[in-house]
Symmetry: C2
Subunit: 414 residues, 2 copies
C-alpha cells in the first residue's frame, strides 16, 4: 500500500511525503497514493526511538514510588514480578505499545520476562521493537542454564514471526546479576547469531564500588578483558564512568542509552553528558520501565534530559534542544542499527505527525523547542509504512486499558 | 446555578459533589441540581494553583532557548517585551488561560505588564487570578513614578471589575531592579490597600553576591530591616538562602513559590527544599513564564519538583508525591489566602476531573502517583462554580490560538 502525506510541515517547509510499502519513497512534488493524509496544521517528524525500557512494567505504574532502591526492589517490585504470567506480559506490552503510539514512539528496545508474549503483542500493535529476554544467573549454573534456555527459545520464536520490524536481542541484566560465565555465553551467542546486547551498566555508584571491592578491578576494565565491549552492545544508564572508560566505550563501538527520568526518580546519579559529548559517544534516550518513570513518554524524557544537564552543570546552554532531539531519533537508530530516525527518501517509513494547533504548541516560533520543552499532541503515527494512529485514535484503546487494569489489579492483590 | 458531579472518585471513594453558586455545598448523598456531570471514570481533584507566572509570555514560548541568562534577557526577551501592546497582552493571557484550563490549573498568580488587559482576558476565560503590574525603578525617580502610576491604575481597574475571583496584587520585580524607595512604597501601599506582594527573590547566586558587594549586607537582612518581609509577601524562586534566612522568612510569614522547571532551564540552581521543609515554610509551586519553561503545565512541574530533589539529594524518598501534590494545591491556596486547594464542603468550587481511562493513567494503583509521575488528561474544569471545560473542550479554542499566533509572529518579526 502507498500513503501520501500532503502539505505537511517538514524541516520548516511545506511538502508532500510519499510512502510505498515500508519505505519513504519520495519527498516533494504531488504524487498519487492509495491513501492520503491531510498534513495541513501538522508537522512531520521521525518516530521517536526509546532505547531502554521494560514495556510490560506499565502494569506496575504507580505501584511503588518514593522508596529507597533496595526496599523498592526487594519488597515491592521483585515479589510482584515473580507472579508474572505470559498473559500478564501480553497485556502489559499491549498497554505499553498503546502509550508509546499515543506519544509518538515507533521503536523500542526492550528487556524483560516472557519476550515471546511481548512479541505477540508488538506484532499486533505494529511497532518496531528489539526484544531481549532478561538473562540472570547470580553465579549459579542451574539458573544460568535456565536463562540460556529461555533466551534461545525467545530468539527462535521471535525470528519465527518473520517480521523485520521485530528483532530478538540479548538481555544480560547487569554485571551484579550475571557472572563472567553468563556474560561469555551471551557474548558468544550474540556473535554467532548476529544479535544486539542490551545491558544495564554503571547505574549506581554502589554497583561500581561493590565490583571493585569484590574483584579489585573496575567494571569496564573487567568487561573489556572478557571482550564483552563491542559494537553489538547498548548499555543503559552509564552514569558512573570516568574519562578513560568513556574513551574505551567509544573505541569498542559501544552505544549508550541515557535514562534521565529513571536516574532522577531512583536517585541513581547524573549522566556525564559533557564527557560523553567530548568523546563523541552515540547517546540515545530511553524511558526505562514504568515502575521507575512512570510513563513511556519520550517528549518528557527529552525535556528532563536537557534540563538535568543545565542545572547540574549550572549552564543554560548545556544539552540544547537540537542535540536532545537527535538523541531521541537518529542516535536511537544508530544504536539499534536501523535505517530510521530521519525523514529522508529511502529511509524506513516511521513517521509521526504532531498537531500544530494545540495550546501548548502555540505559538510556533520553533518546532523543535515546542517538541522538547513544551508538550506536543501526537495526531498520527506511521510505523513500517502502516498507520497505527490517525486523528489521535488507536483501535481497541479501551479494550487494552480494560484488560491491563484487570491484570494489574490481580497482580498486586493476588 | 447548581452543578452535581455524580459518582466521581474522590479520595479513593465514589461519591457525589454538589456545587451551589461558587461553593462546594455538599459531598455525598445524591442531590438534584440544575446541571449534572457524569463522574464515572473520572477522579475529582482540587484545581491546581500556579503561584508564579507571567501569563502573557506564552507569546514567547520557544522564541529563545539555551542562551546564557544575560544574553537571553538582553538580546532576546527584553527587546521583544518593549514592543508589547495591550492587545498583545490580552491575547497572550487568553492563550495562557486556555493552556491552564486544559491542564487543570484554576488559579494563577501573575506578574507582568498591562495587567488591566490581563484582567480583561481572565474575566472572559473564567479563572481565578492575582494580577500584579510589574514594578521597576532601577533607582530612578521618574521610572519609579511611572511604575507607581501603572500600579495604582491596575489596582483600581481590576477592583472596578467587581469580581472576587480576580484580585490585584503588587509586583515589585526583584531586589536588583527596585530600589529601597520603591520597595518602601510597595510595602506601604500593600498595607494601606490590603494587597499581596509578588516578588522575585534569590533566583541566582549572582543576585545575592552582587547585593553583598554593593551594600555589604545580605539581601534578606536588608529586606527585613526595611520591614519588607511580611505575611503579604510571596517570593518566587527562593534558591540562594541559608538556614537563618529561611527561619526569618517563616517568622515573618513569607510564602515561597518554587519554580523547578525554570530554575533548571535557566540553570539558576536547586531549591533548598529540605531546609524549607525543616522550618515548615509554606512552599507552593509555580511554572514561571513560558519563555523559561516552556509551558504552564502544573502536573509536569510537580514531577520536575520531586525528581530534582531526589537526584540532587541522592535520596529517592525526597519530596514524595503527596508532598508535591500539596504544594500544587493546598499550599498554593495558603500562599494566596484563598479558601481553595481542597475538595471539602464550604470550599470554593474550583474542581477538575481527570480521565481515569487513558493509556498513561492505567493501571490506577495510585491516583496521586499517576498525577505526579505520569501524564494525566484533564476532562473537566470548574472554577468559581462555573464550567470552563467539559469533555476536554474549551469554547473558542481555535480562535484564541489563531489570534495568539498572529500576535506572536508580529512581535518577533515586527
Amino acid at each position: 500500500m502507498s500513503i501520501l502525506i500532503k502539505n505537511v510541515l517538514l524541516d520548516g517547509k511545506r511538502t508532500h511525503i510519499l510512502i510505498e510499502d515500508n519505505i519513504i519513497s519520495k519527498i516533494g512534488e504531488t504524487q498519487r497514493a492509495d491513501y492520503e493524509i491531510d498534513g495541513m496544521d501538522k508537522v512531520a517528524l521521525p518516530g521517536l526511538i526509546n532505547t531502554h525500557t521494560h514495556a510490560a512494567m506499565t502494569l506496575l505504574r504507580g505501584y511503588a514510588d518514593d522508596y529507597p532502591l533496595q526496599q523498592w526492589l526487594e519488597e515491592k517490585i521483585w515479589p510482584v514480578e515473580k507472579k508474572l504470567t505470559t498473559e500478564d506480559i501480553y497485556w502489559g506490552v499491549k498497554l505499553a505499545c498503546l502509550e508509546m503510539i499515543k506519544t509518538g514512539t515507533t521503536t523500542f528496545n526492550d528487556m524483560y520476562w516472557f519476550e515471546k508474549s511481548a512479541a505477540d503483542a508488538v506484532k499486533e500493535m505494529g511497532l518496531r521493537a528489539f526484544l531481549a529476554e532478561a538473562f540472570f544467573d547470580f553465579g549459579q549454573e542451574d539458573v544460568r542454564k535456565e536463562s540460556i534456555k529461555r533466551t534461545e527459545e525467545a530468539v527462535k520464536y521471535i525470528r519465527s514471526l518473520g517480521l523485520e520490524r521485530i528483532q530478538p536481542a540479548l538481555g544480560p541484566h547487569a554485571p551484579y546479576t550475571v557472572s563472567k560465565e553468563g556474560l561469555e555465553w551471551v557474548r558468544d551467542f550474540a556473535e554467532r547469531e548476529n544479535l544486539l546486547i542490551h545491558f544495564h551498566l554503571a547505574e549506581t555508584k554502589k554497583e561500581i564500588d561493590n565490583f571493585i571491592k569484590k574483584t579489585g578491578m573496575r567494571l569496564i576494565e573487567f568487561l573489556d578483558k572478557i571482550s564483552f565491549l563491542s559494537r553489538r552492545l547498548i548499555i543503559a544508564h552509564a552514569i558512573w564512568l570516568n574519562d578513560e572508560e568513556v574513551k574505551l566505550l567509544v573505541k569498542r563501538g559501544v552505544k549508550v542509552s541515557h535514562n534521565p527520568v529513571s536516574n532522577m526518580k531512583l536517585a541513581s546519579g547524573v549522566f556525564p553528558y559533557k564527557l560523553m559529548k567530548q568523546h563523541d559517544v552515540v547517546v540515545s534516550l530511553g524511558t526505562d520501565g514504568c515502575a521507575s518513570n512512570n510513563n513511556l513518554n519520550m517528549f518528557e524524557e527529552m525535556k528532563f534530559a536537557s534540563l538535568l544537564q543545565k542545572v547540574h552543570s549550572m549552564d543554560p546552554t548545556a544539552l540544547p534542544k537540537d542535540e536532545v532531539f537527535r538523541m531521541a531519533t537518529i542516535n536511537g537508530a544508530k544504536a539499534l542499527g536501523i535505517n530510521a530516525g530521519e525523514i529522508k527518501e529511502s529511509k524506513l517509513a516511521d513517521i509521526i505527525l504532531v498537531d500544530l494547533n494545540t495550546p501548548s504548541f502555540a505559538p510556533n516560533h520553533d518546532v523543535i523547542s515546542n517538541l522538547v520543552y513544551s508538550i506536543p499532541k501526537v495526531d498520527t503515527v506511521i510505523c513500517d509504512g502502516k498507520i497505527l494512529m490517525e486523528n489521535g485514535k488507536v483501535p481497541d484503546e479501551e479494550e487494552i486499558i480494560k484488560h491491563a487494569e484487570r491484570i494489574a489489579k490481580k497482580l498486586v492483590e493476588g
